[in-house]
Structure formats: C-alpha cells, structure tokens
C-alpha cells in the first residue's frame, strides 16, 4: 500500500499544480457561463455535456501528462500525425460525397472533429522536427523543408473542408513555434516579400469584384450590418450593454433571448461580458495572462528543444485562440469559427485543450526528473 502511494507520488512529481489551478479556474468559469447561457433553454443539456467533456478532458490530460512520459510522446508523434492526417483526409472525402462542408466524423458513437486534433498534433510534429537539432543553428528556407512539408499537409487538408479559421490557426501555431528558432534574415525577407507581392497581384489582377467585396466584408463586417455584420453587431451590443458590473447571472437579454448567435460556442465570451461586465472580463483576462505567463515560464525553463517547442506551441495555441476569439467578440475581427479555449462549448476542443495541458505536465515532469 505504502509502495503504491510512493509510486503514485513519484509519478506526479514535477506536476505544475499552480498552472492546473489557473486552468481549472477557467474551466469552472466556463461552466458557470455555460449554465447561465443555457438558462433560457430550460434543459441544462449543454452544461452537463460540457461538464462531461471537462471530466473526459481531465482523463486525456492525465493520459498525456502522467501515464505517458515525454519520451513516449516524442516517439508517438509521427504516428499520431499520420493518423490525424488520415482522419482529415477522410473528412474531406466524406465532405466531397455529401457535397457540402463537413467537419465531423463519426467514430462509433462519438463525433470527432479531426481539425481540432490537427491543432494538437501540429504542436508535436513541429517540435519533433526540431528535436534532432542540437546547439545554436541558423535556419534557411531550404533547411526548413521538413517543417514546411509537415505544416502544409494538415493546413491544406483543413482548408479544403473548408475551415478557414482552424487551418489559419494550424498555420499560426506552427509559425509561432518556428518564430523562436533562429532563422536567416534573407529567408524571412523572401517569405515576406513573396506573400506581400502575391496578395497585391491577386487583388489587382486575379480577384473579381464580388470576391473583393466578400474579402472586404470579411475584414470589416460593419460594411454589411444585416448579413456578415449581424453577428458582430449583436455581439458588440451584448458586450457593451454589460457595462461595468454586467447585467447579472442569466440576466443578459441579448444572450437569453437569442439575439446573440452561437452563444454557447464562439460567442460564449460575449455572454460573459454581457452578464458579468467589465469586471468579469478583467477576471478572464487576468487568468489568461497568468496562464500564459506560467506556460512561457515552462518553455523558458525547458532543457531540450522538443520540450521548449511543445510548451511554446501550447502557448501559441492558447494565445491565438484567445486573441482571435476575443477580438471577434469585440467586433475587431471577422467572424471565424474560433472558440475561446476552456470557456466555449465544444467537446473536441475541450479534449484538445486538456491534452495540451497534459503535454505541459509531461514537459515539467521530464525537467523534474532530469534535474535530480
């Protein structure tokens, strides 16, 4: 008995408890918000679902963080990458058959959203691709060929679903990770120059007027308040009417009376802002700031490239989801399907997020192990 206890204690050594407290505070906050948002529905189905997913997510976190160790994760990376790419391909194909956009895949009784898993697996594969590298290195476009290929495959597969938001996130997370690697300045200049000139050429010579209009409406939803801008405007109304203290639990009329679209998923933060006001939002911002600082600290303390890049990938994951979602809710960013991690409703996303936290635990456990 004592031995088992000893083993368990050994297993959990290095676990970043303070990070977990921050994470679960956000989870609790999200559940509270979900309960409020479901208030008018009478059936608290979504709240229960989310609670369930939080529990399942916790198991996933334990799986990646405690049961596996970073070495096995490193070994599993390529396999899981291939599996996820295969799933993405399956989604694309079934979407082709159904003649419509498709993001779900039924695996047995559960619906899986492989594009969510892609965000997770991209963190691992990018980190893994730099895993062989030791010491100070300066990369060029040519020496980065591995990374370019592994990122482009899932990016394209998600893009054709079509899911612009997630594919963009996949790209952003990968770029964020690579940005911490020393890269030759000429290569950066080449990439910047080609992408800039390509977009200028496309705008002036390739796109039709209606396509340009679509791009403009996408970039500035207020151009079209009844169509593309409707969601943004309703969200801004919800946020704005929250004021300093908010309208109170289940008292937000914008969300409770369905003026706010997608109030459980992409616009969950809008509900929070309406009902909890500026003060409530400051709490979320504070928790996110705290969490990101903790993750960056893990990255900074990491003693090998894989660990550091995994931690930075997770940081990028949270950072981009947070900024894109909040900016969208505040009407500063086009409406794309990007949830606010830990707060928005969504099983696949919760699973992915908790797995990412699991990775951080694994990173910290390895450091704890190697420092003894």
């Amino acid at each position: 008995m004592l031995l088992f206890w000893q083993l368990l204690k050994e297993r959990f050594r290095g676990t970043p408890w303070s990070l977990l407290i921050t994470v679960y505070l956000l989870v609790a906050l999200g559940l509270f918000n979900m309960f409020s948002a479901s208030g008018a529905d009478a059936s608290p189905g979504r709240f229960n679902d989310q609670l369930q997913w939080a529990v399942i997510g916790t198991f996933a976190m334990i799986f990646w963080g405690i049961i596996l160790d970073l070495r096995s994760i490193e070994r599993l990376t390529l396999l899981s990458y291939i599996v996820v790419c295969a799933l993405l391909l399956a989604v694309d194909i079934s979407g082709q058959i159904a003649k419509g956009s498709q993001r779900w895949l039924m695996i047995g009784p559960i619906r899986v959203q492989p594009s969510e898993l892609a965000k997770f697996v991209i963190i691992l594969i990018v980190a893994r691709s730099f895993g062989f590298v030791r010491g100070v290195h300066e990369f060029t476009l040519l020496t980065l060929w591995r990374q370019i290929i592994v990122v482009l495959i899932p990016f394209v597969l998600v893009l054709v679903q079509p899911d612009l938001g997630t594919s963009g996130l996949v790209l952003l997370i990968a770029c964020f990770q690579i940005a911490f690697v020393r890269i030759n300045w000429t290569s950066i200049a080449i990439v910047a120059f080609t992408s800039l000139s390509a977009s200028i050429i496309a705008w002036n010579f390739v796109l039709y007027d209606y396509q340009k209009l679509r791009v403009l409406n996408f970039l500035n939803p207020m151009r079209d308040p009844k169509g593309a801008g409707y969601h943004s405007i309703q969200s801004m109304i919800a946020v704005g009417s929250g004021g300093l203290w908010g309208r109170g639990f289940q008292q937000g009329t914008q969300s409770q009376l369905s003026f706010l679209p997608e109030r459980h998923t992409d616009f969950a933060f809008s509900v929070w802002a309406e009902e909890q006001g500026f003060i409530g939002c400051a709490v979320v911002f504070g928790l996110y700031l705290l969490m990101l600082l903790q993750i960056f600290q893990i990255a900074e303390k990491a003693r090998d490239s894989f660990s550091a890049l995994v931690a930075l990938g997770v940081a990028g994951f949270f950072l981009f989801h947070f900024f894109i979602n909040v900016a969208m809710v505040l009407g500063m960013f086009p409406v794309v399907g990007v949830p606010l991690s830990l707060v928005s409703y969504g099983g696949s996303h919760m699973l992915t997020v908790m797995s990412c936290i699991g990775l951080l635990i694994a990173v910290e456990r390895r450091r704890a192990l190697s420092s003894t």
Partner: protein
C-alpha cells in the same frame, strides 16, 4: 554554468520568449482598451440598442369619446367588438387549423393566407385580424372550439356602438386613415401618432372634433426574442412596467336636442333632403338631418365593394350632407329677401298694391303666377301670404338684381355660414358681376324676374336658409350656426366650449321688417295662408313656403309623371314664437313633386311642436283640455294627399306656386 550548457542544446532563442510576453501584454491591453470603450464609454448606447432589440411597443386602441346631446342624454357610445385573430406564434398544424377556421367562419382560405402574408414583417406574437366584428354566435362558436384551434383567438376592441341608424351625416363615419390624411394629421397632432390602419373620423363631428374624440392610445411593452416570439417577462422583468393604459377620448356635448332630432328624423322619414332646427337667438343647432341616410356600422364593419358601389351610384347621393353641402334654388322662400329689399330700397310700400292677373310681361317675355287665375289686387303682406309671383316680378323688376343681391348677402346668403362641417358650399347669390364673371354674359332684365322669386341662378343651402329665417325673426342678427356645446375630459373638466357668434347684423328700418314679418305670420296663421299646415295650436308662428322648380316643365304635366330628378323641391322655413323667436326650422324635400306648403310645412310643424312642447309645456296642458278640435288637427298627416280633414282642397290649391315654364323659355 550547468544551465548554460543545457541551454546551448536548445534550438530556440530564450530572449524571444520575453519579446513574446511583451507582445502578448500589449495585445491584451489593446483588447482591454476596446472592452473599456464598448462597456464603459459606449455602454449606455449599447444598452439602448439592446433594449430596442428585445422590447416591442404594442399599442392598444383607445375608446373614442362619448357624444351626448345638449341635455346630457347619450347619443353615441362604444362597446367592445370581437375580432377573429390568428397569432402565428401559437399556431400549430397551420394548414389544418386554417382550413377549419375557413370553414367555421366561411372565410375563403386564400383570404386568410393573404391576411397572414400581409403581416409577414411584424413579430409573430402580434395577432393578425382575420374577421372583424364577430356576431355573438360566432364568438360562442370560437370559444367552444378554442381547444382544437391553438393560435386562433378572439380579440376585443372598443368601437362605436351604432344602435341608432339615423343622423349619419351629423355623427360621421370612421375609417382607416389614408396616406394623404396621415401626413396632415400627424403634422398637426403632437401627442398622437397616426399609423397605417389607424381609425380616424371621416365626416361629421367625428371628423371635425377628431383630435378631442380620439383619446390616447395605450402602450404595452412586451419582451420578444430574436425570432419575434413573445416571452414571459416573469424571470426577467427588467422594468417593462412603463405600460400606459388607453385613455378614452374627451366626451362631447352637442347643441343638438335629441328629442327634437328624433322628431325631425321621424317627420322626415321617406323624404330626401334636409331638416335643420336652430336656436334663433344664438345659432345653436337643435336638429340636423340629411337624407337619404347611410349606415355608419356598415362603414365600421368594413364596406364591401358592392356597398360602396351602391352608395356611389344612388341618385339621391346618400354620402352628401345636404344641410351644408346641398345647394338648391330656394324658390319662394327667397321672396322675403325681395320683399324687404323692395321696402328698404323704396320701390314698394306696405300700402302699394299690384294687380295680379296670373301673368307678367316684360319685353317679349311672359312670366306666369303659380295661380293661373291670378291673385287680383295684392299688397306686400298679402303677396307674401299668398306667395303671389306677379307681385314679386313687379318689385324685382324695379329693384334690379344687384340690390336684391345686396340684401341677400346681408342675411348671410352666398357665403359659408361658418358651421364648418362636411364640405360646406357657398351657394350662389347672382348679380350682374357674378354673371359676367362666371357665364361671360351680361345680365338680362329677365334674369332678375326669375331671381326675384328665388329661381334662376339662385342656389342656397338649407343651413343658409335657416340662418336667414332666424335673422328675419330676431331682428336681423345673422348668427354663425354651431353644433358644439362643450367638450369635457374624463375628469369632467371643460376643454373646449363654443360660444354664440354674431356674424353680421342686417340694418333695416324696423317698420319695414314688421311688414314682412306680418306677411310671414299670415302664411301660417291665416286660414288662406300657404303654410298653414305648419301651425301649432297656441303659438304664433311665421314661415314661408317654397316650391322650387328644377326643370322647365309644361304646366299641364303632372308631377307624378315626370322623372323624379325633374320634380320640384319642396321648401318650408319658419320661426316661432313670433313675439320672441326661439327656434328657426327649415325643411327641404328634394325632388318631392309636391309643394312646400303640403310637403315641407308638416315636417316643420312636427319639429316645431316637439320643440314647443318641451319649451312651453304649460301651453299644451291647457290646449289639451280646451281645444280638442285643434289638437286633432295638429299631429299632421305627413303623407301626401292622405289628409283626411283638410282633404280635397289640399295639394294643388294651397301652394302650387311655380314659376311658369314659358318664362324660362322666353328668356333663352
């Protein structure tokens, strides 16, 4: 040292982590700034926008003000009406439900669908009216089937209770506001907003006093969701309590005396034209009847195209208010103007006589008296009593038309009386200048002959005639007639009160007027008077008959044989009591065919009696006991030729006064 060794194995640049943290904090601060802007700086604006999203203002119609007569007896009130409505929000099994409704209430299914599609834009909780003014039977049918028809309901709204079917022109009908009215009405009303579908008075006092009668709409504030569905505000009552209940409009007291009004309606039954009774000393209108009448409730229930056609094509023009809007040749009623003018202008004197042998010649023209055999030698007084045309041809010829016109205008003819109800017309007082301007032809002396007996170009409204008659009785005071005694709000406070207005005062020598008045009294009181059928026992009454030609007819032709639109108008105007006139009455029976004395005088008699009975009941008590014979005579037969006691002598002899057809022919 050890740390550096490890670090050197790491591919990333640790300094960039600090850069990333700084960038992250900067971005977080910019988001916070945006949040501050939205929630703190613009919070109020967004709160308003949010309220606008969820709160729908629903108006509740206000009952219109009640209408009373001068004594406070209710003339027009409201009652709840029931409408069949469909509420799309609660509609289940739409197709089947609508089909059942269609069959139960015999409304074509397409009509229901049309109604529903018309209101596609409004929120789903707003009831869509399918059928107005259900009968009680239909309401009962609906109630008993309510369970099977979710989303179908009966809505109540206060509307006019048209229990009486008379006096449509006085009260006026209500209708939906037209787009053109919308702008003018909303421009003038501050506290009331008309919308498409609002009810508005279209005629009569309902129109004239619209702003007082309409009341204040109630307002309910309901909470809806994004799909326009009504939400119960229980859990989330955020101060929806600003609701205002509908306020009934101000109540109105008319100058009308309902007893006299009813008597006038009763007396005028089966006649077309107008009856007006007016207080001779201040212009208060006591009775106001225009026939043919039309149904006010028909308008309220929604006029069908068929009904509208009938109203439009009816040759007697039911929609025209004949009191103010009907201009007729006044016939011999006009002779009192000619008579007074002749005395005042010195072309006649009380003693001066003319001989009437039945015809008057001027140049090549010949004008006949209505009495073929002539009246013999007549003075002014006698000529009024007998309505001798030849006498008036003579003095008219001496007067010339402009002097007649001057005196007609002195008594308010040829201009609006100022009642300002239902498209009042001015009528025509012809003069040389008038003819030159409108006809482009010089005045002929023959024209004057026609004008002097109220024919020719003369056109007057019954309201003008009654005002004139009152002025002859009261010593020349031409009052503006008016209908409103007061308007009272729901607290009983008087909001508006009309006061008598003396429009003008005709100046004449008292002795001249006395002669004319004596003649007018003889018309009624003398056994040979043309208007003796208007007599009320125990009272001195003065009046004047008129039988106005509408077309040139062969004298031999019987009125019954000619087309009704060419028959004569029968006039009678009177005031009573002579010693101090209290009331003036006029009756005009258009296209009657009978004379003023036989057809119009009995109507005036009934109105007068109704008034006098009320004003001087003591005289009737005594007359009842002593003068049985007279009394039997007074409730007069008002059907043509049915008179039993004055019998055979009646129709032709009494008042067959007609300007002869030859005259007109000669003129042209």
């Amino acid at each position: 040292m050890a740390d550096n060794r490890f670090k050197s194995e790491v591919v990333i640049d640790p300094r960039r982590i600090y850069v990333a943290i700084v960038v992250f904090i900067v971005l977080l601060l910019s988001l916070s700034g945006r949040l501050w802007y939205l929630q703190i700086l613009k919070g109020k604006d967004f709160s308003i926008a949010s309220e606008r999203n969820r709160v729908r203002e629903v108006t509740r119609p206000a009952p219109r003000g009640l209408i009373f007569d001068r004594n406070g007896s209710l003339m027009l009130s409201n009652r709840p009406f029931f409408d069949l409505v469909v509420i799309p929000q609660y509609l289940q099994n739409r197709e089947q439900t609508l089909k059942i409704v269609s069959e139960l209430f015999s409304i074509p299914l397409e009509q229901i669908e049309k109604r529903l599609s018309e209101s596609a834009g409004v929120p789903h909780f707003v009831p869509v009216r399918i059928k107005r003014n259900l009968t009680l039977h239909e309401v009962a049918m609906m109630e008993s089937n309510k369970f099977f028809l979710p989303g179908v309901d009966v809505d109540t709204a206060p509307r006019r209770d048209y229990q009486r079917s008379d006096s449509a022109h006085l009260f006026g009908y209500l209708g939906e506001v037209t787009n053109r009215e919308l702008d003018t009405l909303n421009a003038t009303s501050r506290d009331y907003q008309y919308r498409v579908g609002s009810t508005v008075g279209k005629l009569g006092v309902e129109k004239k006093y619209e702003s007082s009668l309409r009341g204040l709409e109630g307002k309910d504030y309901l909470q809806v969701d994004a799909y326009g569905r009504l939400q119960t505000a229980s859990a989330m009552d955020f101060g929806l309590s600003q609701r205002k209940t509908a306020q009934r409009g101000h109540d109105m007291y008319l100058t009308i005396d309902d007893d006299i009004q009813r008597a006038a309606v009763e007396a005028f039954r089966n006649k077309n034209g107008a009856v007006v009774a007016m207080n001779a000393q201040n212009g208060e209108i006591l009775a106001y009847v225009s026939h043919p009448n039309f149904s006010l409730s028909m308008y309220q229930d929604g006029l069908t195209g068929e009904d509208w056609q009938l109203l439009q094509t009816n040759p007697f023009k039911p929609l025209l208010d004949k009191v103010t809007g009907g201009a007729y040749p006044p016939g011999s009623v006009f002779k009192l103007i000619t008579a007074l003018a002749a005395l005042e202008e010195g072309v006649a004197s009380p003693q001066r006589t003319y001989s009437c042998n039945g015809v008057f010649s001027l140049g090549n023209g010949k004008w006949r008296c209505w009495k073929k055999t002539g009246h013999g030698v007549v003075n002014l007084r006698k000529s009024i009593e007998q309505s001798c045309d030849v006498y008036f041809y003579q003095v008219g010829n001496l007067l010339n038309v402009d002097r007649i016109a001057k005196w007609a205008r002195a008594f308010g003819l040829g201009e609006k009386t100022g009642l300002d109800l239902n498209m009042e017309v001015t009528g025509i007082v012809p003069s040389t200048e008038w003819k030159l301007q409108t006809k482009g032809a010089p005045w002929q002396s023959g024209d004057t002959i026609n004008v002097s007996i109220g024919q020719g170009y003369n056109l007057m409204t019954p309201l003008q005639i009654v005002t004139m008659m009152a002025a002859f009785g009261n010593g020349g005071k031409v009052f503006r007639p008016y209908l409103l005694k007061k308007i009272v709000d729901q607290q009983g406070k008087t909001m508006l009160e009309e006061k008598p207005l003396l429009r003008k005062r005709a100046a004449f020598k008292q002795e001249n007027m006395a002669v004319v008045q004596a003649g007018l009294e003889d018309v009624v009181m003398s056994p040979t008077g043309t208007g003796k059928k208007s007599a009320v026992a125990g009272f001195r009454i003065a009046g004047k008959t008129g039988t106005a030609q509408t077309a040139a007819l062969k004298r031999t032709k019987d009125q019954d044989e000619v087309h009704f639109q060419q028959r004569d108008h029968a006039w009678f105007a009177a005031y009573a009591p002579v010693e101090n006139p209290e009331i003036a009455v006029v009756a005009l029976s258009e296209f009657d065919g009978g004379g003023g004395g036989s057809q119009a005088a009995p109507i005036v008699q009934q109105v007068l009696e109704a008034y006098l009975r009320k004003a001087h009941p003591e005289k009737f008590v005594s007359s009842k006991l002593s003068q049985k014979v007279v009394e039997r005579k007074t409730p007069l037969q008002n059907q043509r030729g049915a008179g039993s006691d004055s019998g055979g002598a009646v129709p032709a002899a009494e008042d067959g006064e007609e300007a002869s057809e030859d005259n007109d022919a000669d003129q042209d």
